[in-house]
Symmetry: C2
Subunit: 312 residues, 2 copies
């Protein structure tokens, strides 16, 4: 890293602090072809926490047949004892919640869709049926004192349906929150959003009574828009941003280039804006370089590539 | 492309129209290892103009020994007769201006540095000496009725000096404008800027009497910040943005990952914001795919990769 860069120059109207919700071990690895051993995942999560990430989504309790990359959730969680971070896990249904609770999970997430096409493709259910499936999960988790996050996919565009109307997203968002989700993460699953669209959706949610403080944003960098969209969300007051260490999640040269926003690119911007994240960019980059070696391919994050080539 | 995407949703406070200053054939190809034949460059420029780019920087009249990639400027310009675009060319000194004028160039650009280190490395001169060299070039070009652009490199950070103080940039910027440059392009040559820094520099320039209308921005995507920085500049009122088709200019896996902002990633955002550019994204992407084939390597633009893989 060149000493003193990025230079910290605050921009008026942005938050003083942002919480990064790190999704690399779950959303990143679930889209990698390679199946990573549980011990390597645990080491990855330990290093991410040591780099200052206070929330690291650890794994998913979906049926192992659906996502073989994360079939080792039962082996992984016990390896994470003592990791100093919040470690939410995905649970699709009552059986998943039961498995997660048996392992001592303290935070869970359900994953809904704003569109019928993706609900069908991802959950083999209608949007209504998926919400019915989530209802007892969210209720059960809350009764057990767990924090619950709701993911909402395809908030901006859908590969089958094209542009997704704002009111359709607002309707499903409201219902997920009404089920009892503490926080809602708005996903641009195919990376097509642009900054005005982000502002318009956040405004529409506010008008429907949803407070910005309960919203997180989850951008994909498919068209290179993720960081500009994040800037628009910060300007609107959002303070929770999802990102994936090293930009893990989908190969940039694969058919659908669905990489997540790279945590390092995000931290570079936030450091430059003087926004506190608690993350040490050097340690984080070293972690992503190490993980890229485990996966046998270079990191798609521009910041990781630039920093690791400048400091071999 | 998925029909109807990106969805056009304007963001309040942004300009209605942006002029893209396309630098791929010059700034892009000058940083490619390959030396591209003049006929291929001419075809590239013709296709860019046909895609709706109204300004395409064509080449540079530096000494052929400095930049062998652009040593064919004398062969190239006559091939561009009738191309429906402004075709500025770089000229470092009086000899370069003479060569450019002899070939009928209507617009020229000089390239200064905000830092002593880069002035020395790039021009083998101090900042003052380089301004002395430019003075007769700018005066001569204006006397001949040519439009003159001034480039200012290293406006945000410098690989030798680290962060560059705002007042240092303002001082050199003022002097380039005082020489008679019509427009000034603010370069983040090593890609380290962040949005607050961009806003602060534009504000400092305004306070020194420079109107935003005379300023263009030139961002590199080394750390993935280029589009977020562009958004900050648009919000400040900038309406001229430099970009390179396909993100040409420096291999993303090379030691110094110095890729330009990809024109396609920029157009995706501007289309999404409902900002008029006159560019047809499909034709532009097809041009970059064609050029990538000539160079024998994939485009580093995320939008080009996403669109070309989705529509093989």
């Amino acid at each position: 890293m060149i000493s003193g860069l990025p230079m910290a120059v605050p921009e008026p109207g942005l938050p003083a602090r942002v919480r990064i919700h790190e999704v690399g071990p779950r959303d990143g690895l679930q889209n990698e072809k390679a199946i990573v051993p549980a011990e390597v995942k645990a080491e990855f999560i330990r290093r991410l926490a040591a780099a200052g990430l206070g929330t690291v989504e650890a794994t998913s309790f979906v049926h192992p047949k659906w996502v073989p990359q994360l079939a080792d959730a039962e082996q992984l969680l016990p390896l994470l004892d003592g990791v100093p971070a919040r470690l939410p896990v995905l649970v699709p249904n009552a059986r998943g919640l039961e498995r997660a609770r048996a392992l001592g999970a303290r935070e869970v997430a359900v994953f809904g869709s704003a569109t019928e096409s993706f609900a069908k493709a991802n959950l083999n259910r209608t949007v209504d049926e998926s919400l019915e499936m989530f209802a007892p999960v969210v209720a059960g988790a809350r009764e057990a004192g767990l924090a619950v996050r709701g993911y909402l996919s395809m908030c901006f565009g859908d590969p089958w349906e094209g542009a997704v109307p704002l009111e359709q997203v607002v309707r499903v968002a409201r219902r997920l929150l009404d089920l009892g989700c503490d926080e809602l993460s708005l996903g641009d699953t195919i990376g097509v959003a642009t900054p005005g669209h982000v502002t318009a959706l956040l405004t529409a949610l506010n008008e429907a009574g949803v407070e910005t403080g309960r919203l997180a944003v989850h951008f994909h960098d498919t068209y290179g828009q993720a960081l500009a969209n994040t800037l628009a969300a910060l300007r609107h007051g959002v303070t929770t941003v999802d990102a994936s260490a090293g930009g893990l999640g989908g190969c940039p040269y694969a058919k659908s280039a669905t990489g997540n926003l790279a945590t390092e690119d995000l931290v570079w911007m936030l450091d430059g804006l003087g926004i506190d994240t608690g993350v040490d960019l050097g340690r984080l980059t070293a972690t992503s370089v190490w993980m890229a070696e485990q996966l046998g391919r270079p990191s798609p994050s521009r910041t990781v590539r630039a920093l690791s080539h400048q400091e071999p």
